[in-house]
Symmetry: C2
Subunit: 212 residues, 2 copies
DNA sequence: GAATTATCGATAAAAAATTATCGATATAAA
DNA sequence: TTTATATCGATAATTTTTTATCGATAATTC
């Protein structure tokens, strides 16, 4: 069921589901057992209908006049979002942002783990950051192929991003998470998610202007 | 014209525009003067029609058989995205991620500047991180009101996020950029943009699965 | 200089996402 | 026990977003 739906779910829904999840996590800690779509919607300025539709894709069933069982819903969201499948990745560019991500121990809650970092800077390579070993970039291909790593995170300056992406692809990486504000030119069988602070800022300011 | 359109532009368009921008920046560096929607679309796996529609909202005009003047387009995107208006913000939680953001000198290209950091940790307060002064959290209200700061970034652990958000609102903050994976309960006249790694990861993996 | 082609912008059509409607159901109140 | 009410899920309607069509135009080729 999950396998059918994951193809059909919209990106906006995928962005909203974690919000419901975070909220229900809080309620669970407060020993609340049930929550209605109305209540969730109120908190996030959405309609109850949309919340129900989003939740329905995970397969969770609510009860009329009662709402959704929080334990069930959390379970179903985790399952649907794929946070229960374990995936390993590597990170290239262990500077300020890269180091923060290497130490982000929340990734494990989403089934993801960064197993190693890579860099060109010899002051960094050979060391550990937040307990993760940092290798020279030349070791990437070998390590990724040996460990069958398919996910790569790019945290290098923009001007190096394209080169790093190509090297990742040569190393067998199939999914790239790019934090550099650069338009990567890559084959379209490689999955790419662009993390864009410029877009985020603009969206925030747009909402702000609308509120005034 | 920008003022009319900003209300109407879709979030997906807002996320795509920076991609075109990054790409055109590269072309400009290569001394290319014009680029067609076809070429842009090819690079990013979109349709030329969508690229044209997105660009049209910025007000930039293309020329048949030639494409878009890159210098003009960059200018129009900057203007439309509001990257030319200067906005100041503060950041709360100067740990790993917060420090990286404090040092992110690309924000200025988007018209944004973090003027100060706040934290509860007395080992950090009073110091500077990447040249930005870090104050104890109790100073936030005074400083924000005095400098008319309206934008706040949350980089504290999830469990403190709600409290920090409320304090920001008391300090006159009207737009919150939240990096903590927590559902904030705030009045709906406060703009909120939630940065969600869980959503990003899921979107990336979804694309990856589709490609295989 | 005429024909061909790439591209644009406007408008129309199609697809996707959101919102509304409504009968069913479970709890609470009368 | 009966009535009122909150909420669900399914389906329908609406709105938004994406994609297609097509005439106009500017560069290139013949
Ligand atoms: N700092 C932030 O908060 C932030 C936020 C969003 C996006 N970004 C983007 O993330 C990227 C990294 O930012 P940062 O602030 O961490 O920069 P940084 O300078 O602190 O780190 C960059 C690291 O990449 C390494 N590097 C450079 N070229 C390399 C290559 N070819 N191969 C391997 N490693 C290489 C450097 O040695 C350095 O360690 C940039 O593209 C930046 O625009 C940063
Ligand atoms: N590290 C990452 O790469 C990353 C990525 C995405 C999201 N996040 C989120 O960003 C937040 C910060 O992550 P981090 O890794 O930088 O954590 P961190 O522990 O390194 O930093 C947290 C900082 O917040 C301060 N703090 C705690 N409570 C506070 C309060 N009430 N007021 C002011 N300051 C307070 C702490 O003193 C510390 O300096 C977390 O919510 C995390 O989930 C982190």
């Amino acid at each position: 069921m999950v396998d059918e739906n994951i193809e059909k779910v919209s990106i906006p829904s995928l962005r909203r589901l974690p919000l419901y999840y975070h909220y229900m996590k809080i309620l669970k800690k407060r020993k609340v057992d049930y929550v209605s779509s109305t209540k969730i919607a109120e908190k996030m300025n959405l309609t109850p209908i949309q919340v129900r539709k989003d939740l329905s894709i995970t397969g969770v069933k609510g009860r009329a006049r009662v709402g959704f069982n929080i334990k069930d819903a959390l379970e179903k969201i985790e399952e649907f979002m794929g946070w229960k499948d374990k995936k390993d990745g590597i990170l290239v560019g262990c500077g300020d942002l890269g180091s923060a991500l290497l130490g982000y121990n929340n990734f494990k809650n989403y089934g993801f783990e960064i197993v190693a970092g890579f860099d060109v800077d010899e002051k960094i390579t050979g060391t550990e950051i937040h307990g993760k070993r940092i290798f020279p970039i030349d070791r990437m291909e070998n390590l990724c192929k040996r460990l069958h790593i398919k996910v790569g995170i790019i945290c290098v300056p923009s001007k190096s991003a394209q080169k790093v992406a190509e090297r990742m692809i040569d190393s067998g990486i199939e999914a790239i998470w790019n934090f550099a504000p650069a338009a990567l030119e890559i084959p379209n069988d490689i999955a790419l998610h662009q993390e864009d602070m410029a877009a985020s800022l603009t969206i925030l300011f747009k909402k702000h202007r609308k509120n005034r």
